[in-house]
Symmetry: C2
Subunit: 95 residues, 2 copies
Protein backbone atom coordinates (compact mmCIF):
# COMPACT_ATOMS: atom_id res chain seq x y z
CA UNK A 1 0.00 0.00 0.00
CA UNK A 2 1.32 3.44 -0.85
CA UNK A 3 5.08 2.89 -0.63
CA UNK A 4 4.82 0.04 1.88
CA UNK A 5 4.99 -3.68 1.23
CA UNK A 6 3.45 -6.62 3.06
CA UNK A 7 5.94 -9.47 2.86
CA UNK A 8 5.10 -13.09 3.59
CA UNK A 9 7.90 -15.30 4.79
CA UNK A 10 8.77 -18.42 6.70
CA UNK A 11 11.91 -19.14 8.62
CA UNK A 12 13.37 -21.46 11.22
CA UNK A 13 16.39 -21.14 13.46
CA UNK A 14 18.55 -18.14 14.17
CA UNK A 15 18.41 -15.10 11.95
CA UNK A 16 21.29 -12.61 11.96
CA UNK A 17 21.61 -9.66 14.31
CA UNK A 18 20.73 -6.55 12.36
CA UNK A 19 18.97 -3.22 12.49
CA UNK A 20 17.13 -1.02 10.02
CA UNK A 21 18.63 2.44 10.41
CA UNK A 22 15.86 4.21 8.51
CA UNK A 23 12.62 2.46 9.38
CA UNK A 24 10.52 0.66 11.95
CA UNK A 25 9.66 -2.93 11.04
CA UNK A 26 6.43 -4.74 11.90
CA UNK A 27 6.23 -8.49 12.50
CA UNK A 28 2.88 -10.29 12.46
CA UNK A 29 3.00 -14.02 13.19
CA UNK A 30 0.62 -16.03 10.99
CA UNK A 31 1.51 -19.57 12.06
CA UNK A 32 3.84 -20.90 14.72
CA UNK A 33 5.82 -18.94 17.26
CA UNK A 34 8.90 -16.78 17.10
CA UNK A 35 11.13 -14.76 19.33
CA UNK A 36 12.71 -11.41 18.68
CA UNK A 37 15.86 -11.05 20.72
CA UNK A 38 17.14 -7.58 21.59
CA UNK A 39 20.40 -6.60 23.25
CA UNK A 40 18.46 -6.01 26.46
CA UNK A 41 15.55 -8.45 26.31
CA UNK A 42 13.26 -10.44 24.09
CA UNK A 43 9.65 -10.81 23.03
CA UNK A 44 7.83 -14.01 22.18
CA UNK A 45 5.19 -13.75 19.47
CA UNK A 46 2.53 -16.35 18.80
CA UNK A 47 0.14 -16.64 15.87
CA UNK A 48 -1.96 -13.50 15.64
CA UNK A 49 0.48 -11.38 17.62
CA UNK A 50 2.26 -8.36 16.26
CA UNK A 51 5.31 -6.35 17.26
CA UNK A 52 6.92 -3.20 15.89
CA UNK A 53 10.70 -3.10 16.12
CA UNK A 54 11.69 0.56 16.30
CA UNK A 55 14.02 2.10 13.76
CA UNK A 56 17.68 1.55 14.56
CA UNK A 57 17.14 -1.08 17.25
CA UNK A 58 19.30 -4.20 16.88
CA UNK A 59 17.30 -7.40 16.82
CA UNK A 60 17.69 -11.08 16.01
CA UNK A 61 14.63 -13.12 15.05
CA UNK A 62 14.60 -16.75 16.15
CA UNK A 63 12.16 -19.61 15.64
CA UNK A 64 12.62 -23.06 17.08
CA UNK A 65 10.21 -24.52 14.55
CA UNK A 66 9.21 -23.17 11.16
CA UNK A 67 7.25 -19.96 11.61
CA UNK A 68 5.17 -18.09 9.05
CA UNK A 69 5.15 -14.34 9.31
CA UNK A 70 4.05 -11.18 7.57
CA UNK A 71 6.33 -8.16 7.64
CA UNK A 72 5.13 -4.62 7.06
CA UNK A 73 7.82 -2.19 6.02
CA UNK A 74 8.67 0.39 3.39
CA UNK A 75 9.34 -0.94 -0.09
CA UNK A 76 13.03 -1.58 -0.53
CA UNK A 77 13.69 -2.61 3.07
CA UNK A 78 16.29 -5.40 3.10
CA UNK A 79 15.62 -8.35 5.39
CA UNK A 80 19.04 -8.32 6.98
CA UNK A 81 19.10 -4.55 7.40
CA UNK A 82 22.63 -3.26 7.89
CA UNK A 83 24.11 -6.74 8.39
CA UNK A 84 24.14 -8.26 4.90
CA UNK A 85 25.47 -11.79 4.59
CA UNK A 86 24.17 -15.12 3.36
CA UNK A 87 20.68 -14.61 4.70
CA UNK A 88 20.04 -11.51 2.61
CA UNK A 89 17.33 -12.12 0.03
CA UNK A 90 16.32 -10.13 -2.99
CA UNK A 91 13.77 -7.47 -2.16
CA UNK A 92 10.57 -7.04 -4.11
CA UNK A 93 9.82 -10.66 -5.03
CA UNK A 94 6.04 -10.86 -5.46
CA UNK A 95 3.95 -13.93 -4.80
CA UNK B 1 5.14 2.12 12.68
CA UNK B 2 6.90 5.12 11.20
CA UNK B 3 3.96 7.40 10.39
CA UNK B 4 1.49 4.55 9.92
CA UNK B 5 -1.09 3.26 12.37
CA UNK B 6 -2.59 -0.18 12.87
CA UNK B 7 -6.21 0.33 13.90
CA UNK B 8 -8.38 -2.35 15.44
CA UNK B 9 -12.10 -2.06 14.93
CA UNK B 10 -15.35 -3.94 14.84
CA UNK B 11 -18.42 -3.08 12.88
CA UNK B 12 -21.68 -4.52 11.65
CA UNK B 13 -24.02 -3.42 8.90
CA UNK B 14 -23.54 -0.88 6.18
CA UNK B 15 -20.74 1.64 6.40
CA UNK B 16 -20.90 4.83 4.32
CA UNK B 17 -19.63 5.21 0.76
CA UNK B 18 -16.35 7.08 0.91
CA UNK B 19 -12.88 7.34 -0.51
CA UNK B 20 -9.49 8.40 0.77
CA UNK B 21 -8.14 10.87 -1.76
CA UNK B 22 -4.57 10.76 -0.45
CA UNK B 23 -3.89 7.19 0.59
CA UNK B 24 -4.41 3.51 0.00
CA UNK B 25 -6.16 1.69 2.87
CA UNK B 26 -5.49 -1.89 3.95
CA UNK B 27 -8.15 -4.12 5.52
CA UNK B 28 -7.20 -7.31 7.36
CA UNK B 29 -10.08 -9.38 8.73
CA UNK B 30 -9.36 -10.83 12.17
CA UNK B 31 -12.71 -12.43 12.96
CA UNK B 32 -15.87 -12.83 10.93
CA UNK B 33 -16.46 -11.86 7.35
CA UNK B 34 -16.93 -8.59 5.54
CA UNK B 35 -17.57 -7.26 2.09
CA UNK B 36 -16.08 -4.21 0.43
CA UNK B 37 -18.45 -2.92 -2.20
CA UNK B 38 -17.08 -0.84 -5.08
CA UNK B 39 -18.96 1.02 -7.77
CA UNK B 40 -18.07 -1.76 -10.19
CA UNK B 41 -17.84 -4.88 -8.03
CA UNK B 42 -17.16 -6.25 -4.59
CA UNK B 43 -14.75 -8.39 -2.63
CA UNK B 44 -15.58 -10.73 0.23
CA UNK B 45 -12.95 -11.04 2.95
CA UNK B 46 -12.85 -13.78 5.56
CA UNK B 47 -10.71 -14.05 8.67
CA UNK B 48 -7.04 -13.93 7.73
CA UNK B 49 -7.68 -12.26 4.38
CA UNK B 50 -6.39 -8.85 3.42
CA UNK B 51 -7.25 -6.28 0.78
CA UNK B 52 -5.75 -2.94 -0.19
CA UNK B 53 -8.26 -0.35 -1.40
CA UNK B 54 -6.38 1.96 -3.75
CA UNK B 55 -6.20 5.68 -3.12
CA UNK B 56 -9.20 7.57 -4.39
CA UNK B 57 -11.39 4.52 -5.04
CA UNK B 58 -14.91 4.77 -3.63
CA UNK B 59 -15.81 1.88 -1.36
CA UNK B 60 -18.45 0.86 1.16
CA UNK B 61 -17.63 -1.74 3.80
CA UNK B 62 -20.46 -4.05 4.85
CA UNK B 63 -20.72 -6.85 7.40
CA UNK B 64 -23.82 -8.93 7.94
CA UNK B 65 -22.61 -9.96 11.40
CA UNK B 66 -20.12 -8.23 13.66
CA UNK B 67 -16.68 -8.33 12.09
CA UNK B 68 -13.33 -7.55 13.70
CA UNK B 69 -10.75 -5.94 11.48
CA UNK B 70 -7.36 -4.30 11.49
CA UNK B 71 -6.76 -1.31 9.25
CA UNK B 72 -3.31 -0.18 8.13
CA UNK B 73 -3.13 3.40 7.01
CA UNK B 74 -1.20 6.63 7.54
CA UNK B 75 -1.69 8.30 10.90
CA UNK B 76 -4.47 10.82 10.64
CA UNK B 77 -6.57 8.92 8.13
CA UNK B 78 -10.25 9.42 8.92
CA UNK B 79 -12.47 6.35 8.82
CA UNK B 80 -15.13 7.92 6.64
CA UNK B 81 -12.61 9.51 4.27
CA UNK B 82 -14.16 12.33 2.30
CA UNK B 83 -17.72 11.47 3.36
CA UNK B 84 -17.94 12.64 6.97
CA UNK B 85 -21.22 12.10 8.77
CA UNK B 86 -22.40 10.26 11.86
CA UNK B 87 -20.06 7.32 11.40
CA UNK B 88 -16.92 9.44 11.61
CA UNK B 89 -14.92 8.62 14.71
CA UNK B 90 -12.07 10.44 16.32
CA UNK B 91 -8.72 9.45 14.92
CA UNK B 92 -5.79 8.43 17.07
CA UNK B 93 -7.61 6.70 19.91
CA UNK B 94 -5.12 4.18 21.35
CA UNK B 95 -6.06 0.90 22.98
Amino acid sequence: MNDYHFKLGKFQGHFVWHKHPDTDETFLVLEGEMMIVFRDGKVILKAGEMFVVPKGVEHKPFAERECKIMLVEPAGTINTGDAGGDMTVEDDVWI
